[in-house]
Amino acid sequence: MNYTFQFGEALKELPYLLGGAIVTLEIAFMAFWSGAILGLAGAYGLVYGPRWIKRSVGTYITFFTNTPSVVQIFFLFYALPEAGILLSSFTAVTLGLALNSAAYLAEIQRAGFLSVRQTEIDAAETLGMSRFQMLRYVIVPHIARTIYPPLSSFFIWLVLGSSIGALYGVEELTGRAINIATSNLRTIEIFLVTALIYVVLTLCASVSLGLVGRYFFRVKGGLLR
């Protein structure tokens, strides 16, 4: 192999790339939190709602987990303007990922609801807890502990998955890497540096999520043992 690596160009663009990494995190955060809240409502409906709610939420989940998110975002980006709704590419991508995440996060949170054991509820009731105290001391902590690990992995997945934004011209980390590569042609170096930034992002996220999980939710495993 006679390719000579020249990282000089890539490193010069580091601040620009890091700015992209911030956009990546913004997309992941916003999609995650709106997806989690929508998903919470969906999970509640799936477990406690009347039949028609269960059906509608079920259909939603089936649709969003069985079509590629690329296609979902295409729809938001190109079909909605026809209906007079104009979205910036950033908004379309974030919204698309949020709607997609909502489906997965509804399933995760539903499993959390179902993991609450009737025996613990009985115990709480006979110890004299009110409904609110039961929620606060027994049900919510239990659900949080159960769903914390899959939620963390999902967040990491979103950090990486937000690179889909590059397809629509969003200037997040991957988008900016493509921009630089097409202008200076140091493609290999640029993408090596970009990959490294992704690794650092996800490692930091894993470690901090792991610490939070260990100290607040008594979750074992992950990167920290």
């Binding site: 054991r117 009985d122 115990a123 006979t126 110890l127 807890m129 239990h142």
Partner: protein, 245 residues
């Protein structure tokens, strides 16, 4: 005067009647045991007494007070005077042993925290778990979890303790430690209503035994009567079948 007086208590699941007019008394410092085939309604009776399953008919009196299971205030006072331990260990999985034992007195009753913790430490010592204050339930054996559940019930200083087959989900070698704890309580004069299939233990610890079948009381009497000279055919069959195991 009876400490707990149950008169004609009925309960159903949906439209199926499960308790069909149960009457029985428990005196202060007495241990009364409920025996009977599986499905006869023993658990339902205990659950009805603490209002987890709502009785449909009949009266329950604790001391001088008649319980109204539809009134939240009355239910609170029932749960102040009675504590129950279920067959399945139902400790709160997200809390340490100490928090399991103290959460109700501290957070719900708002009793003095330092005193409650001191009392809890004594109770845990008594059930042989002083080394486990900071353990979580999933780090304990079934027998240890069940002893924590007993300590948790006692920490509310109940006048009456209800125990529903607290040993039947345990491995045989763990049964003894839990029975020892209950024996200890009986010796100290704790008033208890117990469901158990451990016939040797029931005979030794109870002052009276109530035989139930199909949601009704078949026979009541002292252990000697129930085991040696039962008046009812069904009691004889049941004890013979259990003792032959």
């Amino acid at each position: 005067m009876a400490h707990l007086e149950i008169d004609n208590l009925c309960a159903s699941y949906g439209n199926t009647p499960v308790l069909k007019g149960i009457s029985l008394d428990v005196e202060k410092s007495e241990v009364v045991s409920l025996i009977g085939p599986s499905g006869s309604g023993k658990s339902t009776l205990l659950r009805a007494l603490v209002g987890v399953t709502k009785p449909t008919e009949g009266t329950v009196r604790i001391g001088e007070t008649t319980v109204d299971y539809r009134s939240a205030a009355s239910l609170r006072s029932v749960r102040d005077s009675m504590a129950i331990v279920f067959q399945q260990y139902n400790l709160f999985q997200n809390m340490t042993v100490m928090d399991n034992v103290t959460i109700a007195p501290i957070k719900i009753k708002k009793w003095n925290k330092a005193e409650v913790r001191k009392h809890a430490a004594e109770l845990l010592e008594r059930v042989g778990l002083s080394a486990k204050h900071n353990a979580y339930p999933d780090e304990l054996s079934g027998g240890q979890q069940q002893r924590v559940a007993i300590a948790r019930a006692l920490c509310l200083r109940p006048q009456l303790l209800l125990l529903d087959e607290v040993t039947s989900a345990l491995d045989p070698e763990l049964v003894g430690e839990v029975l020892d704890t209950i024996r200890d309580l009986a010796r100290d004069g704790m008033t208890m209503l117990i469901v158990s299939h451990e016939m040797g233990f029931v005979r030794e610890v109870s002052s009276r035994i109530v035989m139930m079948d199909k949601g009704a009381v078949v026979e009541k009497g002292p252990p000697a009567q129930i085991f040696d000279a039962p008046e009812q055919e069904r009691t004889r069959d049941f004890t013979a079948r259990i003792l032959s195991h």
